[in-house]
Structures are given as structure tokens and as C-alpha cells.
Amino acid sequence: MLLDPGFRLEIYRRMVRIRLFEEAIIAHHPVGHLSIGQEGAIVGACMALNEDDYVTGTHRSHGHPIGKGADLRPLMAEIFGKRTGICKGLGGSMHLTDTSKGLICESAIVGGGFPLATGAGLSAQVRGSGQVSMCFFGDGATNQGTFSESVNMAAIWKLPVIYFCENNGYAVTTPVSRSHGQPDIARRADGFGIPGVTVDGQDVEAVLAVTREAVSRARAGEGPTLIEARTYRFDEHSNRLAIPIKYREEEEIRFYRETRDPITLYRVVLAEAGLGDDLASVDAEVREAIKDCVAFAKDSPEPEMSDLWDNMYSNPIHLPGKPRP
């Protein structure tokens, strides 16, 4: 695969945006589930998509919109619960859904995105729009019944859906080895008659390559693909949940942080490709953008009680508890 240098820098830029966005969360408003360590999987998958392709994500929701190219200001304002947030402060950290970039749901119900992504694929097929639907989910989510149900439906109807597993090895404290009858998630694809591929999620271009193949199959009407990207979460499950037990070794965490960081690894690749000088300017640019979005979020107003009512239905309905006009 010969990638254009500008495109490669955009890959790099989006990974750094996710990383610094979340470091800013840690510094300024520590809520939620971070994607730090998983940027290669996310960005590799998103860069294989067109802007109008659909995406569903998870409780670990910050990476997907950024990977898909969303503006940072409304995302950070959402983290802060502000009215200028992408969801007006109503959705929050687990739900950074930017529909202008094709996102239709970041589901905090684990497994909730499978049917929705599948439905988006059905919609694209019925309308003949040529769009594909990218469904992000974790290793833990594959044990939810909606996974099998949805993959099967996409298989029957040859829907243009890519089921993309960010396998970070754990669901909260539960390792894949103790929650899956066998640990190769991609192997589940065969039972539904679709291809399943495993890829190194820390190698962003490898992820891009397998995803592009899945996207072409989907656009060609050949149906869904299951991609399992092996990755790792560098931080705790969530900033907000105290974990009283030790379920993974310090050694393991150090190994990933020090030798398998997708950004560090990609810097080496780009440097070898002669793009080393550009990295620093991308870094600086992203740092500025982060500063800007944090300031924007801090300065923004909170939503008002009337916003709750205004976002409930497509038509005005007088419901119990709604202040009479």
C-alpha cells in the first residue's frame, strides 16, 4: 500500500488528537472511559471510510468522532456538559455522537450498537446510497446476543457493514480468556458465513489495509466482514470507577505502554519515510487545538431546563412535569 504523505500525516494527526484530547480530559475534567493506547485501531478503521459513511461506537466514545474527523470544540464542551457540546450537554462522555461525521450512536449499553449499525447498513442498501456502516465494539461486547443476531442478519442480506472489534483484552476486569469460549474473536465470523480477520491494532496502517479491504467488499455488495484488532487500553477501565482488585500485571501494562504505543510506533514509520520534520508541527498544531477546545468548553454556558424538553420529541407535547408555557 502506497499512501500519500499528506494522508499519512492526517492519520498521525488524528491519533495525536485523540491522545491529547484525552490527556486534557484527565487534566481538566476527569470523567469517562479513555481510548489511550487504542488510537491505532480507531484511526486505522476510520481512515478507510468516506465522510458520509456511518459509524456506531461505544461507552469508550471519544476516539470514534475524532478518528472520523470531528471538530474538537463541541466534543470537549460535551465532556464539560455544556450547551455548546455536540449533544448540548445531554449525552456526555460516553456519547460523543457527531452526526455531521456519520456517527449515529455511541452506545453506553454494551452491545447496543450492533443492531443500529446493521440498520444503517440496511438503510444504505435499500436506498442504494453506496455508504458503508462501521460498527465499533469491544471484546466484551461480542458476548452480547445482539452481536451474533446482527452479524447473522448482515450476512443473510449482504449488508455493507464492517464489524470492528477493539479487542483490548479486557471487559472492565474480565480477560477475554475467562469470558470467551475460545479467545479468537475473529473465528466467530465463520459460524455466520462471513470473513473474519485479525490484525495488529497497534499498527495503524495494517488496520487501515484490512479495513479498506472490508470496505471494498461491503461497497461491492459482498457483505459484512468481522475485523478483530488486537489492542490495549493503557489506563483504567474508567476514570470514575474504583477497581478494588488487581486483574492485570504492571508488567503487562508497562510492556504495552513502552513498546506497543501506536503513536510511538507510527512516528518511527513516518520518520523512516522522511516525514520526521512534519511530526513536530502536527504535534504543535494539535496542542493548540486542544488548548482552544478546552478554553471553549470552559467558557461555554450550561444547558437550561427547557433544553431537556425541547429535545424530547419531534413535535411539542405537553408531558407531566413540563413547565406550562
Binding site: G91, I104, G119, S123, T146, M153
Partner: protein
């Protein structure tokens, strides 16, 4: 039961469902129909007219095919999902209540969810407790979902068409005990009945009877029987369960001072309970007597048909309740 427009056509309740779907599928290519064995449940004639791509026989995967419909609704289609039997609603309730009901709100209004889920209550059919649920209350506590329960063919047509054109998720409760009932139904392809408005089926000054779906005909029969004794019942057909037309109920009770509610849900936490709560909260001053709920008792539906049919709302049970009040 609605005022007859220029042209009408004699249709059963089930035919009205099919015709409503046919007309909306003609009108808007984004309307699709999904469900298990949909041809068996009435849709076979649609296969002759529409592209198979818009008629999807689904695998048996309730939570997911409802969710697939919702996902399609988020992205440009207006899906109708037929969940056949209402006892299967629990399986699909997560996608309905955690996704469809909440997504517009949770995205700050970025999304709309023009999604219809049809489901039919299969009581009085000797299929036992796992097929006979009337889970009307399941979808009313969580806001964000509209719920309709038409009582006759023309209402079904007009309300279902409104549901399909609505930009919010709508659950449609059909009643299989009504499927065969025929009446004149308007043929105007823009015949719509607004969601959220009750209908006064009969005026009266002595007592208000609120009913919906399969209990309306029993309420009307009860009113006729009571009229013989000079008791004039006002019969309100709720038509929409959520959002409820509280004004129609309160206005009627302000006149009659007495209220009986006929609902085939189990008693506890029923739609009838909600109506009673609204009236004792907002209409207390006009209440002259207790509010009585005529519902299914708090016991499961047995297979034995003799016992089963005694559990549901009947003309006699409504008459008996009214007589306790007047």
C-alpha cells in the same frame, strides 16, 4: 367509527393495517416493512406490489431486528417492524427503550427516529401465559416513545398512517380479538388521525368510561345496557396511550364526577392505574365517587379457555363497576 369522508371501503382491522402500510409504502419509498414470516401475518399481498428489498423476513432475533429498524430509521428510512406477538416485546425492549426512546435526546436533537413497531396482543386465544401478554404499560414509563392502541379499523388506518409519518418512535398495539372486525374505512390516502387525541364515542352525563383497543366495544355495549336503566355513560376511546389525552378525560370527569377505566392489562401498574392517578391528582374536585379499574387480575393467563376468558374486560364487568358508582 369516524365521520365518513367521501369514499370508504369495507375493511377488517387487519386489512386496515395492510392498507395503511400499502398506502404509505406507495407514498414514500423509504417506508419498509420487517418482521418474522411477515407474509403469514397479513403482508402477503404487499409482496405482489413492492420490491422485495423493502419487505424483509427477519431471522428470530427480536432485540436485533427491532434495533436494525431503529438504525435504519436514524439513517433515512421509515421502517415498520412487525413484532407479531406482544409477549415478545420484553426481548426487544432494550433497543426500544434505551436506544429509540433516548437517541434524539441524548444527541441533543441531532437525530430523529421515524420508527414504527407493531405488535399484537394475543389474549383469549388459548395460547397460555407466554403468548398472552398485554404489556401496554411497558412502554409508557420511559419517555420518548409514543404508544397507540386503536379500537377499530378506521382508527387503525388513520393512526397507523400517522405513526408511519411521525418522526418519533411509535409502538402500535393491535388486538387480535379485533382483527376480523369490519367497518367502512376512508380511502383518502391522506386520511390521518392525530396521535395524542382521544375520541368521545358516546356522550353521557352520569359516568365516564375510559377504554382503548379491545375494551372499547365492551364499554360501548355496557353503555347501551346501562342506558336501558337510564344511566348515561360517556365513553372515551383513548386511542393513544402515550402521550395521553389527559384533557379529554379530565373534561369528561368534570361533567360526570364518576370514572370507570377498562384496560386488559394486569391490574397493578396498568394504564388504568395511570389514568386513575391523573384524575385524582388533577380532577379531584370533580370526583364524586371512587375510580374503579376494570382490568385483568394479578394472575397469569391460563391455557384453559374457560378460565381465560373470565379474566378479561367484558361488558358485564364494566356494567357491574358502573353500578357500584351510581
Amino acid at each position: 367509527m369516524n365521520e365518513i369522508r367521501n369514499d370508504t371501503q369495507r375493511l377488517s382491522y387487519l386489512q386496515a393495517i395492510i392498507e395503511a402500510q400499502r398506502e404509505e409504502m406507495r407514498r414514500d419509498p423509504n417506508v419498509i416493512l420487517m418482521g418474522e414470516d411477515i407474509a403469514v401475518y397479513g403482508a402477503q399481498s404487499l409482496f405482489e406490489e413492492f420490491d422485495a428489498s423493502r419487505l424483509r423476513n427477519t431471522p428470530i432475533s427480536e432485540n436485533s431486528f427491532v434495533g436494525v429498524g431503529i438504525g435504519a430509521a436514524l439513517t433515512g428510512l421509515r421502517p415498520i417492524v412487525d413484532l407479531t406477538i406482544a409477549s415478545f416485546c420484553y426481548l426487544a425492549s432494550d433497543q426500544l427503550l434505551n436506544q429509540a426512546a433516548k437517541l434524539r435526546f441524548m444527541t441533543g436533537g441531532q437525530l430523529r427516529v421515524p420508527f414504527v413497531m407493531r405488535t399484537s396482543t394475543f389474549y383469549n386465544n388459548r395460547t397460555a401465559a407466554q403468548h398472552a401478554d398485554r404489556p401496554y404499560p411497558l412502554f409508557i414509563n420511559t419517555p420518548g416513545v409514543k404508544v397507540i392502541a386503536p379500537s377499530c379499523a378506521s382508527d387503525m388506518k388513520g393512526l397507523l398512517k400517522s405513526a408511519i409519518r411521525d418522526d418519533d418512535p411509535v409502538v402500535v398495539f393491535e388486538d387480535i380479538n379485533l382483527w376480523g372486525k369490519k367497518e367502512e374505512v376512508p380511502t383518502d390516502p391522506d386520511f390521518l388521525i392525530p396521535i395524542g387525541e382521544a375520541a368521545i364515542r358516546r356522550s353521557g352525563k352520569d359516568v365516564t368510561i375510559v377504554a382503548f383497543g379491545g375494551t372499547v366495544s365492551h364499554a360501548l355495549a355496557a353503555a347501551e345496557a346501562l342506558a336501558v336503566d337510564g344511566i348515561e355513560a360517556e365513553v372515551i376511546d383513548l386511542r393513544t396511550i402515550a402521550p395521553m389525552d389527559r384533557d379529554a378525560i379530565l373534561t369528561s370527569v368534570a361533567k360526570t364526577g364518576r370514572l370507570v377505566i377498562a384496560d386488559n392489562s394486569h391490574n397493578v401498574g396498568s394504564v388504568a392505574s395511570e389514568i386513575a392517578a391523573v384524575v385524582v391528582e388533577e380532577g379531584f374536585e370533580s370526583l364524586r365517587r371512587p375510580i374503579l379499574r376494570v382490568t385483568a387480575p394479578q394472575v397469569h393467563i391460563p391455557y384453559n379457555g374457560t378460565l381465560e376468558k373470565q379474566l378479561f374486560v367484558s361488558k358485564d364487568r364494566i356494567v357491574e363497576a358502573v353500578r357500584m358508582l351510581v
